[in-house]
Amino acid sequence: MNIAVQGGLGIASPGSFGGGFSWAFARDLMLAVRHPGETLLVVAFFVLVASLFPLGVGAEPQLLQRIGPGVIWVCALLAAFLSLPGLFATDYADGSLEQMMLSPHPMAGWASGKIAAHWVMSGLPLTALSPLLGLQYGLAPDTLAILAASLALGTPVLSLLGSACTALALGARGGGVLLALLALPLFVPVLIFGAGAADAQAASLSPAPHLSLLGAGLILAVMTLPFAACAAIRIAVD
């Protein structure tokens, strides 16, 4: 992966937030395109787990309609969580992360770029696939739309929260389980409001309050969590 670090870091040019963002975003996307297996695995996991629930709890249409939004949200949350190690851990292991810290671009820029690329590779495909899974659960078309909207607002928050947690756990013993203990409790509010929006729509109530809270959470997360992730990376590389 070091090839991708060397080109484009722009050692000679002055750094900028946008420069770092676009460089890291393009690099991580290029890596994902060259190893499409990892992204596809996350999507396959999402579809597989969501398909297991009707087999486990029984296939009565009313029950499936009732639990559908919640199950799809939990699956999206687990899929986003499983893809977190790819965000910083591989770059930390092979030393690329330290090279990036030497670049003239501000840390928040390239860290945000990496987080955005993580969302494009995990949250975006899950959001795009969610209506298809919703059909498996017999959800109404308007509920499908609200489910997709809540995922579109909520999965970026998962990527942002997850980025800070995975950066904190860099180089820790018992990495995977520790990351679950750190990240999953913080994901809880996103799950509640995300699934709540689709549930409210299914119960003919307005999903607007849930979506507004998700949107507010997204704005807050975008403004603060990249800096938390940077602080955590500094602690790890220090």
Binding site: C165, A172, L182, P189, A231, D238
Partner: protein, 240 residues
């Protein structure tokens, strides 16, 4: 007077040794007084009967669970901003006590909920956010012990504590923001909507828990200091 005299682990070790027994003694006396008021003086509740007496443990434990997390986050900020060694050690020493109080609040709450609500557990906002607080405590303890270098664990846990502080207002205001089964608070800045003996019982128990938390943190921080500073001359001098 040198304000930073006790920020050195060596001098704080001695201070903690002197003060810990006093905090435990105060905690014992306050606990006896608080339990006496709780069981002998406070009247039986008109609606809930004798069951309500769980609040003398439940409410102070819930207060302490949130308050200790806040203190840990403050120590975390001091760790990151000033690289204060002792602040990180205090955060480490307080975390297990905070987790214990969170568990106690959940446990006593479910014992109260069974006869009063008819269920041990409901997924309302107050209970869920308190459960998230318990997991945050577990995450803090796990993260601070997850690294070979304890200083690295200190700083990572400090940052996690600061991120997790978002949960505190959610717990505190959950009964106002959402329509929860958990009742709103009976004690606030404008006064308390309860019998004065009940209020005194709760305050005495809160002070008992508070002094206990300080005492046990002092004992624990002494072991942490000894472990961290084991290569220094003053610790070797103690062993001689």
């Amino acid at each position: 007077m040198n304000w930073f005299y006790f920020s050195s682990p060596a001098s704080f070790y001695r201070l903690a040794g002197w003060t810990a027994p006093w905090f435990f003694a105060a905690s014992l006396l306050l606990g006896i007084a608080g339990l006496y008021v709780a069981f002998m003086v406070a009247p039986t509740d008109a609606q809930q009967g004798e069951v309500y007496r769980v609040i003398f443990l439940h409410v102070p434990a819930a207060w302490m669970s949130m308050f200790l997390y806040f203190i840990i986050a403050c120590y975390g900020a001091a760790t990151l901003a000033f690289r204060a060694r002792l602040a990180a050690m205090m955060a480490r020493a307080l975390a297990p006590t905070g987790a214990m109080f969170t568990f106690l609040a959940l446990w006593t709450g479910s014992f109260w909920g069974r006869p009063t609500w008819g269920t041990y557990w409901v997924w309302d906002a107050r209970l869920t956010s308190e459960l998230v607080l318990l997991f945050l405590y577990f995450g803090l303890i796990a993260l601070s012990n997850a690294f070979e270098d304890p200083r690295r664990g200190d700083r990572a846990a400090a940052l996690l504590a600061i991120i997790g502080v978002v949960n505190l207002p959610i717990i505190y205001f959950s009964v106002h923001w959402w329509n929860t089964l958990h009742q709103g608070s009976s004690v606030n800045m404008q006064g308390a909507s309860m019998h004065v003996a009940m209020l005194w019982g709760m305050l005495l128990m809160a002070l008992c828990f508070w002094t206990y938390a300080i005492g046990v943190a002092m004992v624990r921080v002494r072991s942490i200091i000894l472990e961290r500073e084991r290569r220094t001359r003053w610790v070797r001098g103690l062993a001689r």
